[in-house]
């Protein structure tokens, strides 16, 4: 099954409550996916500064002097904010690629969860409620975010197999369904030089979109071409630095409900996930059409372009 939630705020006064609203939505979706949970939050930006969210199974050991060790290795200022098994490393944007290489030497057991200017991803194995508590997700603020509760089908129940998947700067994706051509597509993308870490089908979907955008497509175009190139069942919810997109495959048997008010756009695998949002009784609530790309951006009007199934 799996459960997906997403919230894109239009009203800045709700930003301090983004984490608490998303967390409540996520916990409601526990019985769609109790194996692991994850949340991606787009928070505030400091110009020129980038964030790496990293994870370790032995955080006390790995994060203890990481700030100092990394700064010494790459010769720049690094700040660290640790939360349970995750830590957010902030540094000059230009230093991030160097820092990623340096990290593999300095702390081979540390894994990168996300890379972005505003994006932070927290994900772990376990019940969504426990995952949310460990990272104190409800206290986070931000402009938009997506979350996932996983019922594992295509790969092992591990932290790396949890969603959201980040495969490009400030890009992330959550998925309900299963892709049937992920092995062949993974081989193809790897041959093209795309970095894919796991055997998980969703990571291939995320990497596919990143590859498309790196080769000139807009997010909307990348989502549109995913309808031709990905086989299997999928409801995708994607996040970018300033936007939030949804697409379902042409068969559309994986559930999806959306709601929009003047204050927000919300997504849930089930209506239950949306019931406590402010003004939901007056919201426009609908089921996204199959093979149709929906996208909201802080800089542009919403889009919905239909493609013949």
């Amino acid at each position: 099954m799996c459960g997906i939630v997403g919230l894109f705020l239009k009203d800045p006064s709700l930003e301090p409550h983004l984490g608490s609203m998303l967390t409540e939505m996520l916990i409601t979706m526990t019985d769609r996916g109790p194996d692991s949970a994850g949340i991606a939050i787009y928070g505030s930006e400091t110009s020129g500064t980038g964030k790496l969210t990293v994870q370790s199974d032995t955080p006390q050991q790995d994060f203890a002097s990481l700030e100092k060790d990394l700064a010494a290795k790459i010769g720049t200022n690094v700040s660290i904010r640790a939360k349970d098994t995750h830590a957010v490393l902030e540094m000059s944007n230009a230093q991030i690629p160097v820092a990623r290489v340096a990290l593999t030497d300095l702390r081979p057991n540390v894994r990168v969860m996300s890379h972005g200017e505003t994006l932070e991803i927290y994900k772990e194995v376990g019940l969504p409620k426990n995952v949310a508590e460990r990272f104190d997700l409800s206290s986070m603020s931000g402009t938009h975010g997506i979350g996932h509760t996983r019922m594992a089908t295509e790969s092992a129940v591990t932290t790396m197999g949890a969603h959201p998947f980040n495969t490009g700067v400030d890009q992330c994706l959550v998925h309900n369904g299963s892709l049937s051509n992920h092995n062949s597509l993974r081989r193809k993308l790897r041959r093209l030089g795309v970095h894919i870490e796991t055997e998980n089908d969703t990571e291939v979907g995320a990497a596919y979109l990143t590859w498309k955008m790196q080769t000139g497509s807009t997010l909307g175009e990348a989502l549109q071409s995913s309808l031709d190139d990905l086989d299997g069942f999928f409801t995708f919810v994607v996040g970018t630095k300033d936007g939030f997109g949804v697409v379902r495959d042409p068969i559309a048997c994986k559930p999806a409900v959306m709601a929009e008010t003047d204050q927000y756009v919300a997504f849930g695998s089930e209506y239950r996930a949306l019931v406590n949002l402010p003004g939901i009784d007056e919201a426009r609530v609908w089921e996204p059409e199959p093979a149709t790309v929906y996208f909201w951006s802080q800089n542009a009007a919403p889009t919905a372009s239909e493609k013949a199934a």
């Binding site: 048997c253 239950r272 609530v285 089921e287 199934a309």
Partner: protein, 225 residues
């Protein structure tokens, strides 16, 4: 009027209470508050009672219904009125996927739109939709009637047996072995009754009828691999 707060009292207590109503119960009017998209509300009812759900429901509301009238004052999630035997399920808003699937009898009325696979494998149920229906609706439908006042999505009536489909608007595409058929006086009569039962103000003459060409399951060289 019996009122039941689903959030406070829970689903198991709700369905146990409704199942306990006998055919001659005096408690014929029920109101369910705070449904909040919960699953399996008012399933398996078998008494002539009226249940008003004040809000939207999750999966399988009114499933396996016999005799009862379930009125949802909101939208319904996937599988509403699935495998209904008799009685009525009425949705004020929209219905999600596979509404009225495998229904043997009774009437399902949807005042908004229905999503994909509406009436899949219907076996005698009457489904009346005021709005549109999605793709693969009435797939393998065996008997009963489907009335759509709006438009139908792709592959309407794929692999249809003997169910009758009436659509007022456009049909995006017809499924395998589904064809448009003539509207004879008996169909106008049947449809007029269904429209009245569904509370639709449309006229029967505005609809087209679709049904099985009855060629898919007989010998036809075009069907061979």
């Amino acid at each position: 009027m019996q009122s039941f707060d689903l959030e406070a009292q829970g689903l198991r207590a709700l369905n146990t209470t409704l199942h306990a109503q006998a055919k001659d119960t005096n408690q014929t009017a029920w109101e369910i508050v705070n449904p909040k998209g919960s699953h399996a509300i008012a399933v398996g009812l078998d008494a002539p009672i009226e249940v008003n759900v004040k809000g939207s429901t999750g999966y399988y509301c009114g499933g396996m219904n016999k005799q009862a009238t379930v009125h949802v004052h909101g939208s319904a999630g996937p599988g509403v009125a699935e495998n209904m035997m008799s009685g009525t399920v009425l949705i004020e808003g929209d219905a999600s996927q596979y509404a009225g699937a495998t229904g043997n009898g009774g009437t399902l009325i949807i005042k908004g739109n229905a999503s994909s696979r509406c009436g899949i494998s219907m076996k005698g149920i009457d489904i009346i939709v005021h709005g549109n229906i999605g793709h693969m609706s009435a797939f393998m439908a065996q008997s009963g009637n489907m009335v759509v006042c709006g438009d139908a999505g792709d592959a309407l009536g794929d692999s249809l047996y003997e169910a009758k489909l009436f659509v007022r608007g456009s049909v995006k595409s017809l499924g395998a072995d589904c064809i448009e058929k003539e509207m004879r006086p008996e169909h106008i009569e049947l449809l007029t009754e269904l429209l009245e039962r569904g509370g639709c103000d449309a006229k029967a003459s505005e609809f087209k009828r679709y049904g099985s060409a009855r060629e898919l399951y007989t010998f036809n060289i075009d069907n061979a691999y």
